[in-house]
Amino acid sequence: MAAPLDFDALYEDHFGLVWRTARRLGVPTAAADDVVQDVFLVVHRRLGDYDGQTPPKRWLLGITTKVVSDHRRTYWRKDSRVVPHEVDRDGVETHVSLRPAPSEEAEQSEALRLVSSLLDEIDADKREVLVLSQFEEMSAPEIAELLGLNVNTVSARLRAARQAFDAAYARHRARSAWRKP
């Protein structure tokens, strides 16, 4: 049984994770403040529900994903490009299309926009490990621990994820080339 979580420590340790995750999921800079605040307010409210088993990082990721999803439903519902994604009981993304609205997309940086859209094209399982590896710079053993998976499973999934990402990138290049004169 893990020790109870300390709110301040959670904030200090995982603020970056939460912010990056929100941004990756398409939250524009201007809305990141609100979303991240909401995440931590939910965290604060639910500290008592924390089961002591889930790694705090995973718990936070679940809450973040959920909050982003709620924000999209609430504030960006009218945007036809926004498909509310599904979140399972633990708040893990199961189906995602959090593609930013065009106006947000313009504001988002090119690299982030591209990566986000390419990630959208790959399976949730693969996306999850790829994001943790490339975005959060976690090692395979760390990811394995976080997700409760075998290290070999993580490594295999990472390889597959990279291939899928590369394939998505190749498609993107092909589309871009086609569009350009």
Binding site: P4, L5, D6, F7, D8, A9, Y11, E12, F15, G16, W19, R20, R23, R24, T29, A30, A31, A32, D33, D34, V36, Q37, D38, F40, L41, H44, R45, L47, G48, Y50, Q108, S109, A111, L112, L114, V115, S116, Q134, F135, E137, R162, F165, D166, Y169, A170
Partner: protein
């Protein structure tokens, strides 16, 4: 796609998605305000209250106990909110030491953030006064031992957006964020808010500052005198909880233990959500009460 290309693309995306230190500070300040507002009494003069709370609340005991139990109790909410405000803790260290009883707590029961490097404290100090004064606050470790260089009344506006802004509090960070040009810490108050600020009596603030100063040096009789004066001149003040908290702390430092505990309990039941609750409990040796 080569590994290096992919890594490079992700690295750029990561950089774009990453928050700045300023983001971290600003959001922390906003969360602090929202937690404070959510937990505290919905009084329009939150700014003043926040000033007093910042200066005097956030007790060691509250920070540790409340975040530890992690319950949904209001007391916990308040205390945790305050524990975000390390500046309160920084300041209070001197106060507690001066006041007496809790000196032991201060030296033994430090929550983790008390042990953080000075940089982090400075960080928090910045966060707590995002839209306040231009007067510099000496956010050095020396603050924990030496008398404060910045009296509490110089940074009274942290919750100002919530005060004068008729919109939900949730909207204020966006407004801050969206404001071009100066950073929040440079803003005089709420420049984009047309609503007039709530009436603020400098005199009252001065008086409360004197109360804090007297508390700081452990001058209980003076605290009691000033508190009585405050009560006489500002009977309906929104700072009444702070005033009563100061009174109880002074009583606890000077009166017989039984009397002190009685007063402390009365305070805790009257103001169950006060950020001063933890401090009152620690100083007056009350373990029950509203929690």
């Amino acid at each position: 796609m080569r590994d290096s290309e992919r890594d490079d693309l992700f690295a750029r995306a990561r950089k774009d998605a990453s928050p700045t230190d300023d983001d971290r500070r600003r959001v922390r300040g906003a969360i602090h305000r929202r937690l404070g507002v959510g937990a505290g009494t919905a009084v329009a003069t939150t700014a003043l209250k926040a000033a007093a709370s910042t200066a005097g609340a956030g007790t060691v005991a509250a920070g540790t106990v409340a975040t530890g139990t992690a319950g949904a109790s209001a007391a916990s909410v308040t205390a945790t909110a305050v524990s975000l405000s390390a500046v309160g803790v920084v300041k209070i260290t001197a106060v507690i030491a001066a006041i007496a009883a809790a000196a032991v707590v201060a030296s033994t029961g430090l929550p983790h953030f008390m042990a953080e490097p000075a940089a982090k404290k400075a960080d928090v100090v910045e966060a707590v006064r995002p839209v306040t004064t231009t007067r510099p606050v000496a956010a050095t470790p020396a603050m924990t031992a030496a008398p404060l260089s910045a009296p509490p009344h110089v940074d009274p506006i942290p919750a100002a957006p919530a005060v004068t802004n008729p919109l939900p509090v949730a909207a204020s960070p966006m407004r801050e964020r969206a404001a071009p040009g100066p950073q929040p810490s440079d803003l005089p108050v709420v420049v984009d808010n047309p609503a007039p600020p709530p009436p603020r009596s400098g005199t009252e603030v001065d008086l409360m500052a004197d109360v804090q100063a007297a508390l700081r040096v452990g001058d209980a009789p003076r605290v009691l005198a000033l508190v009585s004066e405050h009560e006489r001149r500002f009977p309906e003040s929104a700072l009444a909880p702070e005033r009563e908290g100061a009174r109880v702390l002074a009583v606890c430092a000077s009166a017989a233990p039984d009397e002190a505990r009685t007063q402390a309990r009365r305070f805790l039941s009257t103001y169950p959500l006060s950020p001063l609750g933890g401090r009152v409990r620690a100083t007056c040796g009350v373990t029950d009460g509203s929690r």
